[in-house]
């Protein structure tokens, strides 16, 4: 058999080199694509293939002190449409007809919206009712994607809205308790991942929950929904009666700092809130903790507490009122320009005599007086569970524009700015045995598993002794229950104590005619169950705190104590030794 042998030639290397170089080129390109740029291409492919979305965790409910629901979340659906899946006109028409019918949207408008959108998944509507969304998704319509979400509902309507606040579209609290305790309420959101086909439509059974959401904790507040509703109704009526610009009412348990009701006007109302109006942003702040005012004569209670606690005066200490006190060539007059003559310290509170308060501060000394202001919590936030709480302003030696007259005027509630919450907290300390409690709105936090963590009352300071507190209680009893006439702030069925204040609104270099009328009272006087602050801002009828705010206190004290089941019976405060 003949054998053929290839003749060795250099020409064979030419195509070999060519194919070899080509193979090398392909290999290099493959190396570039699959090794060097792997992660970039992989993530692009993932983005093309996978869609993912946040699954919001169920937000915890907010309950009142008796377990009634004030705010809760219900499951809803956010409905999206895949714009890629709706590129086929026939399928888009069929799906849009069904979707439009379920959501009461014009199908043609729906198709236009989806076509005009630059997003792959176009949001059609948030918070679609759970059953409606479920039916839609069951119908397997082309390109419809439903993502679980939750919506906030407030069964009690506008009641306590300014305390509760509101949440945003991303289920994060924006104001009130919803914002202040967002971390507890919100839980941890999860993540849903779904695969798309070449048209962008989700592949059946290819959706999975990559990370499960963890539900938020429930909050039980110290607010009582009945008292809150009563207080809000009363405040609205009071503002109307006295043609005021706004006002606040706070009801507190003086024995532990529990806030039973907290109303502020103007404030957030769910029923009338329009977030498109920039002015409505002003309503999101709770003025009883963010806004300052000069308390006026209510501050005399703090002045008397300090002076009696320091032992420089007693309720029966007398001085002679000449109608004016001269401090560094400045004349400080009484509010009614009257001259009262010889007066006891109890009468100073009864008649709200400015010169008497100046007398107490002179006896006490400026430094000691301001240390009592500090001890009563003025000049710093109380620490309540609300955002944006103001510090308050106390003019002190060394401050710019400070004058020694400031300490004298602080004795009767001028040259000092406080929040209504600071004021009621301080007066509560002066009548509850001398304990300054941190005011609080949260009674307990209930974790999703049911574990309940109660928040204990916190004593921040003890500004005065228990016996001083008992004396102050007796003096304030004498203010509300004078001999010879019926004080407007005296409740019908209970014996109460309290003090009114009427202060002009400060402006640069002085005060104008606008005024703030207020009253802080407590009842029953021998064992206080509630302390109530009533404040009316810029009442046009110019009624004083005694005339405008005290009667509101009296009505509320009767109604609230009856509701709490407190039997009338106390006759007169008795100072304990």
């Amino acid at each position: 058999m003949a054998q053929y042998r290839a003749i060795e030639t250099r020409r064979v290397w030419l195509p070999a080199a060519f194919f070899g170089a080509f193979a090398l080129l392909i290999f290099a390109r493959l190396f570039q694509l699959q090794v060097l740029e792997h992660s970039s291409y992989a993530s692009t492919a993932q983005q093309e293939l996978l869609g993912d979305d946040v699954i919001y965790a169920r937000r915890g409910a907010i309950l009142d002190r008796n377990g009634n629901v004030l705010a809760m979340s219900v499951d809803t659906w956010d409905i999206y449409v895949s714009s890629r899946a709706w590129k086929d006109p026939a399928r888009a028409t069929a799906a849009s007809e069904a979707l439009g019918k379920a959501l009461t949207i014009d199908p043609a408008e729906l198709r236009r919206t989806v076509a005009a959108s630059k997003s792959v998944d176009v949001l059609i509507r948030r918070d679609v009712d759970y059953e409606v969304g479920k039916t839609l998704l069951k119908a397997n319509l082309t390109g419809i994607i439903g993502l679980p979400n939750t919506a906030r509902v407030n069964p009690e309507g506008d009641t306590a809205a300014s305390v509760l606040g509101l949440i945003g579209l991303d289920n994060t609290g924006l104001a009130g308790i919803e914002a202040a305790l967002n971390n507890d309420l919100q839980g941890k959101p999860g993540r849903a991942v779904y695969e798309r086909d070449t048209t962008g439509e989700p592949i059946p059974f290819a959706q999975h929950v990559a990370q499960k959401p963890t539900a938020g904790s429930d909050l039980q507040l110290t607010i009582d929904r009945y008292i809150q509703q009563l207080v809000e109704r009363t405040l609205d009526q009071g503002i109307k009666d006295h043609r005021a610009q706004g006002g606040d009412i706070i009801v507190m348990d003086p024995t532990n700092g529990d806030i039973l009701a907290f109303a502020s006007r103007p404030g957030l109302q769910y029923s009338t809130l329009n977030l498109d109006d920039p002015k409505s942003m002003e309503l999101l702040r709770n003025r009883a903790v963010t806004d300052l005012y000069e308390p006026g004569s209510v501050m005399k209670v703090v002045t008397a507490s300090g002076a009696i606690d320091a032992g420089v005066v007693s309720p029966d200490t007398t001085y002679v009122d000449t109608g004016v006190a001269h401090i560094y060539e400045i004349s400080l007059k009484n509010w009614d320009d009257r001259v009262y003559g010889t007066q006891t310290m109890t009468q100073v509170l009864q008649n709200s005599i400015n010169t008497g308060a100046v007398f107490m501060v002179e006896k006490l000394g400026a430094k000691a007086f301001q240390s009592y202001l500090d001890a009563f919590g003025f000049g710093k936030p109380t620490g309540i569970e609300l955002t944006g709480e103001a510090d308050g302003i106390i003019r002190r030696p060394g401050d710019r524009n400070y004058s020694p007259v400031d300490v004298a005027t602080q004795a009767f509630g001028q040259s000092i700015s406080v929040t209504p919450l600071q004021m009621i907290t301080a007066i509560a300390a002066s009548i509850n045995g001398g304990k300054l409690y941190k005011p609080h709105l949260v009674k307990s936090i209930i974790a999703p598993g049911g574990k309940r963590t109660d928040r204990q009352p916190e004593v921040v300071a003890k500004p005065i002794r228990p016996d001083t507190s008992a004396t102050i209680r007796e003096m304030l009893d004498a203010v509300v229950n004078p001999e010879g006439f019926r004080y407007p702030g005296a409740p019908r069925d209970y014996r109460a104590g309290g003090k009114s204040g009427t202060a002009n609104v400060p402006i640069p270099n002085g005060y104008d005619d606008r005024q703030i009328a207020s009253f802080i009272g407590f009842a029953p006087v021998d064992s206080p169950k509630v302390i109530i602050l009533v404040k009316l801002d810029q009442n046009q009828d110019l009624a004083t705190g005694t005339q405008a705010a005290a009667p509101i206190f009296a009505r509320l004290a009767d109604d609230i104590l009856h509701y709490l089941g407190v039997a009338p019976g106390a006759t007169k405060a008795v100072a304990k030794p």
Partner: protein
């Protein structure tokens, strides 16, 4: 052609009849093992997939039921809201109550209702008399634990 294979001896016959049969058993067993080994992952995958779908379906059911529970809770909350109670009370002709009357009585109040024994705390063991010294000797005896 028949002469190609000489007749088998006795020993060869014995060995010859067994050898093919033995090889078949082992081959069959091996094939069976291979077959089962090959099928096992398929079966496992199939079972896992079915289980996965079932889990997904149950989770979807759970989510649906949870959603319904929330909706019902919201319904209950709105039905027990103060505004709704007040409206309903007006509808059926109820009016706000008169001033409450508080009665003071010198007699003690009624005794609290007795709870079933299962809800009461057990007897206080600490108040029992201490055991006599000789009872400690019982621990030396290997008696069954009570």
């Amino acid at each position: 052609m028949a002469a190609i294979h000489p007749p088998l001896t006795k020993e060869q016959k014995k060995a010859g009849t067994r050898a093919p049969l033995g090889a078949n058993v082992w081959v069959l067993a091996g094939m069976a093992i291979l077959g089962i080994s090959a099928m096992l992952p398929v079966l496992q995958n199939s079972a896992a997939t079915s289980q996965g779908f079932r889990t997904q379906a149950i989770e979807a059911d759970k989510a649906k039921l949870n959603g319904e529970i929330r909706t019902l809770e919201a319904d209950v909350a709105s039905l027990t809201s103060l505004a709704r109670i007040q409206r309903r009370a007006q509808e059926i002709g109820l009016e706000p109550g008169a001033k409450p009357i508080y009665v003071s009585v010198s007699e003690p109040g009624p005794a609290p209702a007795k709870l079933p024994a299962q809800y009461l705390p057990g007897p206080d063991r600490s108040s029992e008399a201490p055991a006599a010294w000789w009872q400690s000797l019982n621990t030396w005896v290997p008696l069954p634990a009570r």
